[in-house]
Amino acid sequence: MITGSELSTAIDKLVALRPEILQATIDTFVMLGISTFAAIVIGGLFGIFLFLSSDRQFLQNKALYGMLGGITNFMRAFPFVILMIAMSPLTKTIIGTGIGPIAASLVLAIAGSFYFARLVEQNLREVPRGIIEATESMGARPFTIVKVLLNEARSGLVLSVTILCISLLSYSAAAGMIGGGGLGDLAIRYGYYRYQTEVMVFIVVMLSVMVIAIQAIGNWLAVRLDKR
């Protein structure tokens, strides 16, 4: 059992750590914001081309599909921590530094992109074939057909963004290895290395609340957008 005095000591420690927790929260939001946005754009495009080059679609091309699929599988095979280390020379070239939340965002964006690409491909596959056919029969341009596909798949796509965002939140805990900061990193440094269990517990609760909130927003939006 936790006694009253132990509880008040724990709270005192957390209060003393306020600046670090605040900074870590900001870092987490920065990493999450940049990487989610980048992954939606890059992974979205990649996923669209994955789908369009697959069998029976209008860019049907076995070689292209094989290549895009191969790259996606290869990139997704990397454990996140190893990807981070493997990418550090590239990160240094692009960002100018291999450490910090921005550097971590780049790695998160890459990992997230290929993850999201598969989710997009799956979502587009759910759109009935007949809708593409009807749109083609009207004489729509390929770009218009893609817009129709995305609009028909929008509810599933929102849920996929939700999953992406939560996965990136979880990955970002490992970003501490390259000084990325963030809540997960703080929990490991204080909670694990310094045996301050209360910091660990508090941050895990914070992360849980964030996950619950992201999922709730995603679910709400998906239902609102779904007219099927």
Partner: protein, 256 residues
């Protein structure tokens, strides 16, 4: 009367699913449409009839090149579709409406937006889209459903939205792929009346694929009888009777 649609020796075959590496053409390819020549007159309602696998839906898809024929010529309203570039074909397709068995409406757009979409795609003047959409919904008697989503409609209503969408850019040809096969008999009757009406008032040439003899008898002027990818004959329909000349054709049109 002039010919609106001319199919000249068109063929289509598909690679069989489990063809393997066989060099034998018969084992590798499935012939959906054997060399077929037929023409449909302007303002005609023309049926494509046959059992499942007769190749009637494929033949219909050859008309707007949703399936590209392996050989032969497709001429619509004097334009040889096979000779067109991709962008020219898109323009030609604005002149060929299509409706489907499963309706294929965009479920995340309202009835109004489904119809408006085809107008936008066809390059219809933006300021006139609204009026034209309501005009088309009027024709199919659905003006009160304009703000509904397809999921809120009955099957018959969905198909009527499909018709409104297809005729919105005033096409000369309407292709109908089993348009009543997902509908009950009463709804089928009202839908056929709707198609008849469009043919009467707008003079749209209609090609309709169906396996239902009653649809052919009620609606069509002539019908192509198809069997295993072959065109048996083109039979006229007189007073609701399909006047088949060939033996297989007569067997085909006999209702049990």
């Amino acid at each position: 009367m002039t010919d609106m649609i001319v199919l000249n020796e068109v063929t289509k075959r598909f690679l069989k699913d489990r063809a393997g590496k066989s060099e034998d053409a018969a084992a590798k390819w499935f012939t959906a449409v054997a060399p077929t020549t037929l023409s449909v007159k302007q303002g005609e309602i023309f049926g494509l009839m046959g059992y499942s696998g007769a190749g009637k839906s494929t033949l219909l898809r050859l008309i707007n090149l949703l399936e590209r024929p392996d050989s032969g010529r497709v001429v619509i309203d004097g334009v040889d579709l096979m000779s067109l570039s991709a962008s020219e074909l898109r323009v030609a397709r604005h002149n060929i409406g299509m409706i489907f068995q499963q309706f294929n409406l965009m479920s995340n757009r309202t009835v109004f937006d489904n119809v408006a979409f085809n107008l936008t795609v066809s390059g219809f003047a933006r300021d006139k889209i609204k009026a034209r959409v309501m005009e088309c919904l009027e024709i199919v008697d659905l003006t009160d459903r304009a703000t509904h989503f397809p999921a809120q409609l009955s099957g018959g209503q969905k198909q009527r939205v499909g018709i409104a969408r297809a005729i919105a850019p005033s096409p000369k040809v309407l292709l109908a792929d089993e348009p009543t096969s997902a509908l009950d008999p009463a709804t089928t009757r009202s839908l056929l009346a709707c198609l008849q009406d469009i043919n009467d008032k707008l003079g749209v040439t209609i090609v309709i694929v169906t396996h239902e003899m009653s649809v052919i008898r009620r609606l069509c002027h002539r019908a192509a009888l198809l069997h295993q990818g072959e065109l048996l004959e083109v039979a006229p329909i007189v007073d609701g009777n399909i006047q088949a000349a060939t033996l297989i054709g007569q067997g085909l049109v006999q209702e049990d």
